[in-house]
Amino acid sequence: MTPRWLVCALLCFCTACAQSPPPVSGLRPAYPEPWGPKVDSLLPTLRWEPFPRPADLKADTDGWVARVRSVTYDLRIWRTVKAGHPFMYPGDLIYSRDGVPEPLHTVETPLAQDTSYLWSIRPRFELDGEVRVTEWSMLKFPNEWGFAPRAPRVPPLAYYRFRTP
């Protein structure tokens, strides 16, 4: 069902990812890497870059980042549904935490063995007294192919991936 050109493009993208860090949208994970490595435990400690990043402060022409207070993080882990093509649909949401105080979290309930998961994080913070979030983090595909965080189609197919031992 997936167009051949799309599969070819995806394979090229994967090859490129093997040679350099894959582009991401949002916060980049520090562990595991975004593109599907096997984690070291059924209770992995997931880590990601903190918000705001130096690049956010540098690009903050409106000045809103400087007004951000009380930054925490939301974390989601989904079971993967492959659905017969190379893209990964998020299936059941099996783990969810809001308000994680640091840019890392050790999963508190054991994941299933030898299973593929998708995961994502986003900052949650106060801005001028209101709760705000940014987009969920995910892989960034060439030309985005409609999988960008704000595409008019949900759920996204580009969340970060890992596999349990």
Binding site: A55, W64, V131, P152
Partner: protein
């Protein structure tokens, strides 16, 4: 092919679009759901029966109300705001109808978020194909003073679960009902994010 059903609803809010209590207008009107491309080698009578079962599940579920209620719940949890569901007759009466909300300003309601399921169907192709659920919801934010539309958007849920029509409707449609709940949850969360919470990163990761 299969039949249809649709929903219309509305919500109101505070937060980014200014003020007051959030309000949800109850759905009115007809929705259209269907099975698309479900060609099969099974006898026609069985296929018709399965499609009728799927249609009944969609029809009986009150799709508009289900999404509206999910949206109100998600809005309350995620924003701490007050969401009020408006009475049925305050929302659009049909799919292509636009109603005015100016009268609500007199009741202290500043903004209305209208949400409407425009389409829901199972989609696939081929002979006895795996089918996936698609559901499209439109949202519209209207400032009641002056009936000024501030925002309009459309989101489509495209699920990863694929099953044959027989599998979707088995056990009184257990899989289909579950997938509909999932679609509601994902659409509601995304709408709340987009309308109330989201701020875009000033820097794209690739810019670093």
């Amino acid at each position: 092919m299969g039949a249809a059903y649709t929903i219309t609803g509305a919500v109101a809010l505070g937060g980014g679009y200014g003020g007051v209590a959030g309000i949800l207008l109850s759905p009115v009107g007809a929705v259209v759901g269907s099975v698309v491309g479900a060609f099969t080698a099974d006898p026609a009578a069985i296929v018709v029966q399965r499609e009728e079962t799927a249609r009944q599940i969609l029809t009986n579920r009150a799709l508009q109300e289900a999404l509206r209620d999910r949206l109100a719940a998600a809005g309350r949890v995620q924003t701490g705001g007050k969401f009020v569901v408006l009475a049925d007759d305050r929302g659009p009466a049909a799919r292509d109808t636009q109603v005015g909300y100016a009268a609500l300003a007199q009741e202290g309601i500043g903004t209305v978020l209208e949400v409407r399921v425009d389409n829901v169907h199972l989609e696939g192709g081929g002979i006895d194909p795996p089918l996936a659920l698609r559901m499209t919801a439109r949202t519209r934010i209207v400032r009641t003073a002056g009936d000024l539309e501030l925002y309009a958007s459309s989101l489509t849920y495209s699920g990863g679960e694929q099953h044959t029509l027989e599998e979707w409707v088995a056990r009184d449609g257990e899989l289909l009902r579950r997938e509909l709940e999932r679609a509601d949850a994902i659409l509601a969360e995304k709408i709340v994010d987009e309308v109330f919470l989201l701020v875009l990163f000033p820097a794209r990761s690739g810019d670093k």
